[in-house]
Symmetry: C2
Subunit: 292 residues, 2 copies
């Protein structure tokens, strides 16, 4: 049985540790973690979620013992972590990550030591809806992977057996779909499904100072803005990291918004109804494909 190491015991790091223990039958003795926060490490150990924890400055001691490492850090921290500890990883180990942008991480993964294998990944899960956007290790239990999407962006240098192992593990964790794409395609698609949606939700809240407006809510406003309860430092980093692609998506969205706005302003009922009918059909197609 492999030894697993989790670098960064935040919301997702904690959820992965829980999922390894509860869904993948990994004995707790084989789950290690490192984090910058002593209390988090102690709490995870006391709760029987990890066997042992190391402070970040001693991460090398953990990494040298791990066959599989999950890097659960923000993109910029992740790349500097990888540079700092590259020599410490155990020979033959499999590394993966969970960051929401993949271009720069895949580039870093290409360059690491030949005897270790880094498969970049992105579990499409969080806690926005159920736990009101709560973050951090303490809320890990609210982060359920069941039925969710997982994107991986394999490199040509990745070992086939590692890919098979990782995909098997992902399904065991509860994820329903694994999509394999190039890092650039990931970043393009995620700029739309994830980053643009967060920018829109944030803009909706940004433009309305009246917090009593919720008395006029019927579900739409609540659904469109729940993700505005975001982790500000993380999303700042993701938006800026992927800004070239995100700005393109914002412009595409604004063009559609302007077209629909013009049809409304000019009271072009027939054209507007046709356009909205096409939108409805397309969204229904999407729901039928995704089952939601």
């Amino acid at each position: 049985m492999q030894t697993f190491g989790i670098a960064g015991l935040g919301l997702m790091g904690g959820a992965i540790a829980l999922s390894l223990r509860d869904r993948c039958s990994v004995p707790v003795q084989k789950i290690f973690a490192c984090d910058k926060d002593t209390d988090t490490l102690n709490s995870a150990q006391q709760d029987g979620i990890i066997a042992k924890g190391w402070l970040s400055e001693n991460a090398g001691e953990m990494l040298s013992q791990c066959d599989v490492v999950f890097l659960c850090l923000n993109p910029s921290t992740l790349i500097s972590f990888l540079e700092k500890w590259e020599t410490s990883f155990k020979s033959g180990c499999l590394i993966t990550d969970i960051a929401g942008t993949k271009g720069s991480i895949a580039a870093a993964a290409e360059k690491i030591r030949d005897d270790i294998d880094f498969i970049p990944g992105h579990p499409m899960a969080g806690t926005h809806v159920r736990a009101g956007g709560k973050t951090g290790f303490a809320n890990s239990a609210f982060c359920d992977f069941t039925g969710k999407n997982y994107i991986i962006t394999p490199l040509t240098r990745n070992k086939k057996e590692n890919l098979v192992f990782l995909k098997d593990l992902i399904y065991k964790m509860g994820f329903a779909n694994i999509t394999e794409v190039a890092p650039i395609e990931h970043d393009q698609k995620i700029a739309f499904t994830s980053q643009l949606c967060h920018v829109i939700a944030a803009s909706l809240i940004d433009c309305e100072p009246d917090t009593e407006i919720t008395r006029f809510g019927g579900g739409s406003f609540e659904d469109l803005t729940r993700i505005a309860m975001l982790n500000a430092p993380m999303w700042t980093e993701l938006f800026i990291e992927n800004r070239a692609l995100l700005l393109e998506r914002i412009e595409q969205f604004k063009a559609s918004l302007d077209t629909i706005k013009s049809l409304i302003g000019e009271a072009q009922a027939q054209k507007l109804e046709e356009r909205l009918s096409l939108v409805r059909e397309r969204r229904e197609d999407m729901a039928n494909r995704a089952g939601k």
Copy 2:
């Protein structure tokens, strides 16, 4: 016990009939309906949801017997219905409606016969989320009023006892909050919480032709676009009816979107993070006030 009449047995008309029977202890013998569709009326009668149905052209025969009338029609149909049948309403009856704009309807309600009383209303409920935006009488059972908001825009001419009666009925139906405002305030607030959100959801789908994009969805995209499965004729009418206020809201939203876009484009990490932190705090305030 009063006799209730429902004009228009669509999704909401059906849901109100069900709710009168099941939550307000109104005997089915006291629930009537009129509709343009014979099959709908027959089906409602067979299912024990109404005692008797009339085709729209015979609505007068129903209205002359009803103490409380719910007009469950689109705004434009509603106003012409009211004009056509004004002389048929029973003297002393209470009329209310469910339309998503209130300005023109309140104006029409001001002008009706002195011996009948029209309190304009807007139940903030639908089926988007649970039933994937399904409409029509057949989906009425998916439209649950529990915990939802209800807006009424009373007129100075409304009788106090009718207001008390209607509000009591609304709470019995399961709604959690009743907000009383002027019609113009309703239309301003709803332009934001409801119409702008539908325009945004529609624009998001409008700008992305790839229906396979859902493989990259993590919940945000799904939440922001579920309401794009909209009733195109109804929303076309609501958008155009309320266009002056809606266009203002679209411009406010675009201003916030452009500000956030600029901060991203200029990689102004600190300012962006500050702005997103304020957004998060404001949305959390809203959630705390509304309990969701």
